[in-house]
C-alpha cells in the first residue's frame, strides 16, 4: 500500500492505494496521525484505490477520528468501494464517519461538517 499526502485549499488529502491490512495499516496510521498532529484543520482520506480493508485498517480510521476530536479537525473519507463501505456498515461505523462519494463532494462539504466527523 502507498500513502501520498497533498493539499487542496488547506485541506489535507491522503491518497491511499492498495490493500489496508495488518501489514500496511501501520503506514496509514503513521501518515494519518502525523498529519493530524501537524495541526491540519481538515483531513480527508481518499479510499478510491483501496480494494480491501480489514479490522486493523478500520481501527486506524477510528483512531484518526478520535484524534480529530482532540485536535478539533474535520475528518472524512471519500471514494469508498462497495466492499469497504459494507465493512463500515457491518461494524455500524458508516454513521460515525463523514463519508463522501467523491473528492468533489468531500471538498465542498468537509468545511461544513462538525469537527470530529459527524455530519
Amino acid at each position: 500500500m502507498k500513502v501520498q499526502i497533498r493539499k487542496v485549499d488547506q485541506i489535507s488529502i491522503l491518497d491511499c492505494s492498495g490493500d489496508v491490512d495488518l501489514y500496511s495499516s501501520p503506514e496509514l496510521r503513521e501518515a494519518l496521525l502525523k498529519e493530524m498532529r501537524s495541526g491540519a484543520a481538515s483531513v480527508l482520506i481518499n479510499m478510491a484505490d483501496v480494494p480491501y480493508i480489514d479490522s486493523s485498517g478500520i481501527a486506524t480510521l477510528v483512531e484518526g477520528l478520535q484524534l480529530s476530536r482532540e485536535t478539533k479537525a474535520h475528518f472524512g473519507l471519500f471514494g469508498l468501494r462497495n466492499n469497504a463501505r459494507s465493512v463500515l456498515e457491518l461494524a455500524r461505523l458508516h454513521k460515525v464517519f463523514a463519508l463522501f462519494d467523491d473528492e468533489k463532494e468531500a471538498l465542498e462539504k468537509i468545511p461544513t461538517i462538525q469537527p470530529f466527523g459527524g455530519l
Partner: protein, 145 residues
C-alpha cells in the same frame, strides 16, 4: 488444499488470494467471496497478533475443505493456547479502535469454534454453508444478520 505461511503480516495477501480463488472455484457469489476472504484474513491476523504476539517466526497453517453443502477452513498454529474468552466479539456500541476482527468472523461464518482437543497450539474451525442454489437446493444464504 493446504497452505502454510510464516507469521509475517506481509504474507496475509497470499492467504487471501488462496481463499478467494478456492471460494470462487466452489461457486460462492462474489459478495460472499469477499466476506469469506475477510473472515479468514481476520482469523489469521488474530493468530499473528494474539497467539504469536507479533512474533514473525511462527507457522500458520490453513486447510480448506470443500463439501457439497459447505466449505470448512481449519486454521492451526503452534503458539501457546489462546483463551476463547479473549477473542470473543465485542459490542459495537463502543466506538473504539480494535476488537472488530472476531466480530467480522462471527458475522459471516455459520460456525466458528476452537478445537479444545488440539494439542500443541490452537486450531480454529470455521464453516461456511454454500448458498442453496450452489449446493443444489433452491434458496440462497448470505451474511448472517
Amino acid at each position: 488444499m493446504r497452505i502454510v505461511i510464516s507469521s509475517q503480516p506481509k504474507l496475509l495477501n497470499i492467504l487471501r488470494c488462496v481463499v478467494r480463488y478456492r471460494a470462487q472455484e466452489v461457486g460462492f457469489p462474489e459478495t460472499d467471496v469477499d466476506w469469506l476472504t475477510m473472515a479468514i484474513d481476520e482469523a489469521a491476523t488474530n493468530v499473528m497478533r494474539h497467539a504469536y504476539q507479533n512474533r514473525r517466526d511462527g507457522k500458520v497453517k490453513l486447510e480448506i475443505q470443500a463439501f457439497p453443502d459447505r466449505m470448512e477452513f481449519i486454521l492451526e498454529d503452534s503458539a501457546p493456547k489462546v483463551s476463547p474468552e479473549k477473542v470473543r466479539p465485542r459490542s459495537l456500541d463502543d466506538v473504539r479502535p480494535g476488537g472488530l476482527g472476531t466480530f467480522f468472523i462471527h458475522s459471516f461464518m455459520d460456525s466458528c469454534h476452537f478445537d479444545e482437543c488440539f494439542a500443541g497450539g490452537n486450531r480454529l474451525i470455521m464453516v461456511k454453508n454454500l448458498p442453496r442454489k450452489v449446493s443444489g437446493k433452491d434458496e440462497s444464504t448470505n451474511q448472517k444478520s
